[in-house]
Structures are given as structure tokens and as C-alpha cells.
């Protein structure tokens, strides 16, 4: 992931607007991967490619309107996410409410805590203590991918935009049109599911 500061953005913008070919390559190199990821988080891999192409073309069309109030990255993101959400709306009815089914699972399983609110059992120790350790297991990556695929769309979007892309809470709320409190609940639900998967993986080596 790249963190562009506004100064770099401004310099790159000048080169883009003057039509310098290398600047376009730099722009694409910096942001295309993350934009693909953001689009895929919302509408799935199959449709992400087309949405991102459209978003890029729209961005270039409006390059002269960009005022630099946000970073270039945030601006590109809002374009790709709007594009992706537009497509999502066309393909299915969007459900913005949280999934009800998993309310009593994982960390929200009533059996996990005693009546007085204490842990019923202590949380198990994990062998893997770092992201690198966990991500070095091929089967873990598979488990993670599978879990992310099963998350409700809105949870996957929030989780990807926040934890993977590192966008600010406020930015995400604007992009997805959800309230801050709603977003925080969705984010925690999604993380809790990943937590439960990792916990099972650490215990059994499967998911």
C-alpha cells in the first residue's frame, strides 16, 4: 500500500495535467492494485476489472476538476467505490443492515461469557504471534480468502477499506453512506469473524 503525501500528489498532478506520459504510468502503478482490491471488496473479482477501468477513465476526465482537498488516493477511491456501488445496485438489492444470523456466533456466542460478564474460558493461546507468521501458512491464506468471501458485502467493504486500505473512519462513512456508529459496529462484527476463524485455525490447523 502506498501512502502519498499531498506534496507528492501536487507534483504528480502538475505532470499529469501537462500530459507527461511517465506520470500516468506512475499514477497507475501507485493506485491500480489498491483500486482493484477496493472494487473487488464491493462487487467481487469478476466485475472489479471493468469497474476499475471505468473509474480510471472517469478520473482522467475529471483530472482538471480535482482540487486537492483530499489526497489523490482518497479521490480515486471515492470514484472507484461509487462506480462499484453503482454496479452493485444494478445487480442486486443492497442490504445495508447487518446480518442477523451470526449475532450469536463466535465472540457473540452467549456461552463464551458467564452471567457476570467474565470469560467462561480463557482465550486460547495462539502459536503464531505476528502477521508474517500467520500469512506464511498457505492454508491460512486460503482460510482467510474463504472467510472474506462469506462476509456480507457491507462488512467486507468496511473491513477492506479500513484494515487493508487504511482509510479514515470518516472517509469510509462518506464513501459507503453509513453513519459512524453503524460503521464501527460493522467493522467490529467483521473483525470478530476473522478473529474466530484465526482462533479455530490456531487450534485445529483448519477452518
Amino acid at each position: 500500500m502506498t501512502h502519498q503525501n499531498p506534496v507528492d500528489d501536487a507534483a504528480l498532478l502538475v505532470r499529469l495535467r501537462s500530459g507527461e506520459k511517465a506520470a500516468f504510468e506512475e499514477l497507475v502503478r501507485q493506485h491500480h492494485g489498491a483500486m482493484m482490491r477496493a472494487a473487488a471488496a464491493i462487487i467481487g473479482d469478476a466485475q472489479a476489472e471493468e469497474a476499475v477501468q471505468e473509474a480510471w477513465l472517469a478520473a482522467i476526465r475529471h483530472l482538471h476538476d480535482f482540487e486537492g482537498r483530499s489526497s489523490l488516493k482518497t479521490w480515486l477511491f471515492s470514484i472507484v467505490i461509487n462506480e462499484a456501488r453503482g454496479r452493485l445496485r444494478k445487480t442486486k438489492r443492497e442490504v445495508l443492515i447487518d446480518d442477523q444470523d451470526s449475532r450469536n456466533e463466535g465472540l457473540f456466542d452467549p456461552g463464551r461469557f458467564l452471567c457476570d460478564g467474565h470469560w467462561a474460558h480463557e482465550p486460547a493461546l495462539w502459536h503464531d504471534q505476528s502477521p508474517e507468521a500467520l500469512l506464511s501458512h498457505e492454508d491460512f491464506l486460503h482460510c482467510l480468502g474463504k472467510l472474506l468471501d462469506t462476509l456480507p458485502d457491507i462488512q467486507r467493504s468496511v473491513l477492506t477499506l479500513r484494515d487493508y486500505q487504511g482509510l479514515e473512519v470518516e472517509t469510509i462513512c462518506n464513501i459507503l453512506s453509513v453513519s459512524a456508529s453503524n460503521m464501527r459496529v460493522l467493522l467490529h462484527r467483521a473483525r470478530a469473524k476473522v478473529y474466530t476463524m484465526v482462533d479455530l485455525y490456531e487450534e485445529t490447523g483448519t477452518c
Binding site: 500500500m1 500516468f24 504510468e25 499514477l27 502503478r29 482493484m36 477501468q53 461469557f113 505476528s130 467493522l187
Partner: protein
């Protein structure tokens, strides 16, 4: 007093993301001071966050990047042409 259940189910992510007000934050801090189960849990949830941040991106081929950059550059030149007419 904040219970383990409340901390785990409603406060943990907001605590890690610095989204709590000072009073809520103090109650989480105090709880973590006296509860090793929740300390372990918070460390694990933080690990989950960091795992997600580093999950590898699907690689984009060099040829694909170059082709896209070229297409965008071309479009930009065409627009510039229109603007100057």
C-alpha cells in the same frame, strides 16, 4: 464497571481504532490492567487487524499496467485537444 463481555463485544475495535471518548478509554485501560484474559484478547484482535493490513495484493502484470497507463495518457491527450479547439 466494564465487564469482559462488554469489552470484547462492544469496545475492543473502537479501542484499537482510538474511537472512544476519554471516559470509555479509561475504563478499557483500567479493565486491561486487571484482566489478563482481555489483555490477551486485545493483543490477538490487534494481530487480526495487522494480518488484514498485510494480506498480499493480487499482482498486476507489468504489461497490464503499461497498457492501462498508455490508454489513460491517450485519453488525456484527446481531451486536451478538445479543450484547446
Amino acid at each position: 464497571m466494564l465487564t469482559c463481555r462488554e469489552l470484547v463485544q462492544t469496545r475492543a475495535s473502537d479501542y484499537l481504532d482510538s474511537q472512544l471518548n476519554w471516559r470509555q478509554r479509561a475504563s478499557v485501560r483500567f479493565h486491561l490492567l486487571i484482566c489478563d484474559h482481555c489483555r490477551r484478547f486485545i493483543r490477538q484482535l490487534d494481530l487480526v487487524r495487522r494480518v488484514l493490513a498485510r494480506e498480499p495484493e493480487a499482482p498486476v502484470s507489468e504489461a497490464e499496467l503499461k497498457a492501462l497507463a498508455e490508454r489513460l495518457h491517450r485519453q488525456h491527450q484527446q481531451q486536451a485537444g478538445h479543450r484547446h479547439k
